[in-house]
């Protein structure tokens, strides 16, 4: 039995990318283990797309090295990866099936088209022209193109941007399925819910650097701050003793911020507070994201 640790799927070693005076990626190190769905989060202009395109070998870094399965990328790298770009036009005047067949011919190893059509739910639109399909269908087709060569490593750059909630969840189902097949997925997204739903590990990027990395629960624990308990002011009317916790009194409600939500709820119960209309908000990835990158708008 071989107990040697699996080689990382892909590593970025001291990567820098400059555009004139602008440093898009700044001496960045990143390791993505094999078989995980890895989320890359960050505000607009953080350098996510630049980093992912350097890893994909679409643009060269100014300095640094990318290693795939422990080695520098070889000429066969593109046979082994799948890419779904943030913005891509499809070949004009082609049907969905013809588009898939065209891309299939570009690879030496490929899925059968029928299997791919089934996986990405393209059955109903297989004979439709590319410019006649909806946004959700288009994203599923682009995902199918990314999977056409049965890649071990799949890059998905904001795959669900602009989709309605139904289409987004449909896309998530497909990503869940391919994650279940043991493929490594690197995903960038603006949607924290998407990252929580899909990603085993997450890295938060800002100003060209990774500022936090870990599993979503770890990041929430370490960077999420406390939970919030919100109660109507009337819920304190019938208590005999003062509430044993610090709280803020607002116009119609009181707000408690605490690291240990369960203990705080217990203390409120013991004090005889009416918890009927209590609202509890626990920290999530969005809280982590805002705590790490700030709330100031930037474009």
């Amino acid at each position: 039995m071989n107990n040697a640790p699996a080689r990382p799927a892909i590593e970025a070693l001291n990567i820098t990318k400059r555009y004139g005076n602008l440093v898009a990626v700044d001496r960045l190190d990143l390791t993505v283990p094999t078989g995980v769905c890895f989320g890359l989060l960050g505000p607009n202009g953080a350098g996510k797309t630049t980093l992912i395109e350097i890893m994909e070998d679409i643009i060269p870094p100014t300095s640094g090295q990318i290693r795939y399965l422990g080695r520098p990328r070889s000429s066969s790298f593109r046979q082994q990866i799948g890419i779904m770009f943030q913005q891509t036009a499809l070949l004009a005047f082609m049907t969905v099936y013809e588009t898939l067949a065209t891309f299939q011919a570009l690879y030496s190893n490929s899925h059968t088209l029928e299997a791919l059509i089934g996986l990405c739910h393209l059955e109903d639109i297989r004979n439709q022209l590319n410019d006649k399909i909806s946004g959700g269908q288009r994203q599923r087709l682009l995902l199918a193109l990314a999977l056409i060569n049965q890649p071990n490593l799949v890059f998905l750059d904001e795959p669900s941007t602009g989709l309605d909630p139904q289409a987004r969840r449909n896309l998530w189902d497909i990503v869940h399925t391919i994650r279940g097949q043991g493929k490594t997925i690197i995903l960038t997204t603006h949607y924290m819910e998407e990252a929580e739903q899909l990603c085993d590990q997450v890295a938060v990027m800002d100003k060209g650097k990774i500022i936090a990395q870990g599993t979503p629960p770890d990041l929430i624990r370490s960077h999420g701050g406390g939970g919030q308990i919100r109660l109507p002011r009337s819920s304190l009317d019938k208590i005999d003793a003062p509430v044993p916790l610090k709280y803020q009194t607002m116009e119609n409600h009181i707000l408690l911020e605490t690291v240990e939500v369960n203990q705080a709820v217990g203390a409120l119960l013991n004090a005889g507070v009416d918890l009927t209309d209590m609202e509890v908000k626990t920290p999530d990835l969005e809280t982590v994201f805002l705590n790490l990158t700030g709330r100031r708008l930037r474009e």
Binding site: I83, T88, A89, F93, M94, A101, L106, L145
Partner: protein, 348 residues
């Protein structure tokens, strides 16, 4: 080079061409309309090269028989236009709409020409000679030269075909590839194992197939209507057209090699196509143009394509006779391919 990938790209591009019905139809209709239009304008009757305004004439624009003195009416290549009075005629003369204005109400006839109009100078000499009772005694007319008449349409037809090839090659490759670069299609293809060489080869082969296909359809269609006369061999013509298509498509690849702005590319394409249209003798001969203009024309591939095609079609030349044109076109093709491949970028 992986030919399966090249073939996939050729098929994709050809599908796009054949399915874009508007562009596809226009590709055939435009040259056909041009040839038809020119056949109507210049076909049949002799061409009237000089225009002389005549006044006073009640029938505006139709002075050929009613207002023109008999002695002048017999002169060939002169068209007479009638004007009611002098002021209307003078206005036309000032704007070079006519080459001479003639007052037939007086005798001897009064006339006006523009100092800056070469045609005015010539028509003055011509009409004056006609009024002086025959040719000068110092000249004696010899027997007429016997030669097969080349109709203007026979001379023009290769020009229109060449122009169609030029536009189709440059815009079909140059413009389309830049559009693909701008909208991300090239970037997506770059993410596959397809190499730049494979992609460019496919673009070139696809375009050459489409150009030759269009050429054949146009040739057959126009020949049915206008009955062109081909003195040389069709196989020689086909070889020359193939090399010409290759050269112009390779030039398209140079334009396509860089850039993401369709507007800028359009400007570059105009910069290339307009001089070719006028200097490569698509519409008219530049015989007599300044030497430097001819030198510029010699740098353009269309000049050599049309020169060769006209030699074969109009003069019955063989492949060895057009070897200089074939050689120049081949050298240009190689040069364009090297530059295009060296500059090509998937992203920039």
């Amino acid at each position: 080079m992986n030919f399966k990938r090249v073939w996939a790209m050729i098929v994709a591009r050809n599908r796009e061409f054949f399915r874009d019905r508007a562009a596809f139809g226009w590709n055939f209709l435009f040259p056909f309309l041009l040839i038809g239009g020119f056949a109507i304008i210049f076909g049949g009757q002799e061409q009237k090269d000089f225009k002389v305004g005549v006044f006073p004439c009640p029938q505006i624009d139709s002075a050929q028989t009613s207002c023109t003195p008999d002695v002048l009416d017999r002169i060939r290549y002169v068209r007479y236009l009638g004007f009611k009075d002098q002021s209307v005629g003078m206005d036309k003369l000032k704007h070079h709409k006519i080459d001479m204005l003639l007052d037939t109400a007086t005798f001897p006839f009064r006339y006006w020409i523009s100092d800056t109009s070469p045609k005015g100078y010539i028509v003055e000499r011509m009409l004056a000679g006609s009024l002086n009772n025959g040719p000068p005694q110092a000249m004696r007319r010899q027997a007429a030269v016997q030669a097969r008449q080349i109709r203007y349409i026979d001379w023009l037809f290769p020009g229109i075909l060449g122009m169609n090839i030029m536009f189709s090659a440059l815009y079909g490759v140059g413009f389309v590839v830049v559009r693909y670069r701008k909208n991300g299609v090239l970037k997506r293809l770059n993410a596959t194992p397809l190499t730049a060489l494979e992609y460019l080869t496919a673009q070139m082969l696809s375009r050459i197939f489409l150009l030759l296909f269009t050429l054949c359809i146009l040739w057959v269609g126009c020949d049915l209507v206008f009955k062109f006369q081909v003195e040389g061999h069709y196989i020689d013509l086909a070889i020359l057209f193939f090399v010409g298509c290759l050269s112009l498509t390779a030039l398209g690849l140079v334009v396509a090699s860089r850039g993401t702005s369709e507007e800028f590319t359009n400007g570059i394409l105009n910069f290339i196509t307009w001089p070719m249209m006028f200097l490569s003798e698509v519409w008219f001969s530049i015989e007599g143009a300044p030497h430097w203009v001819k030198e510029i024309a010699n740098l353009l591939p269309l000049t050599h394509l049309l020169a060769g095609v006209r030699k074969i079609m109009n003069d019955g030349a063989g492949l060895t006779d057009v070897l200089p044109e074939l050689t120049i076109l081949t050298v240009m093709t190689l040069l364009f391919l090297v530059v295009g491949a060296a500059l090509f970028s998937w992203n920039k």
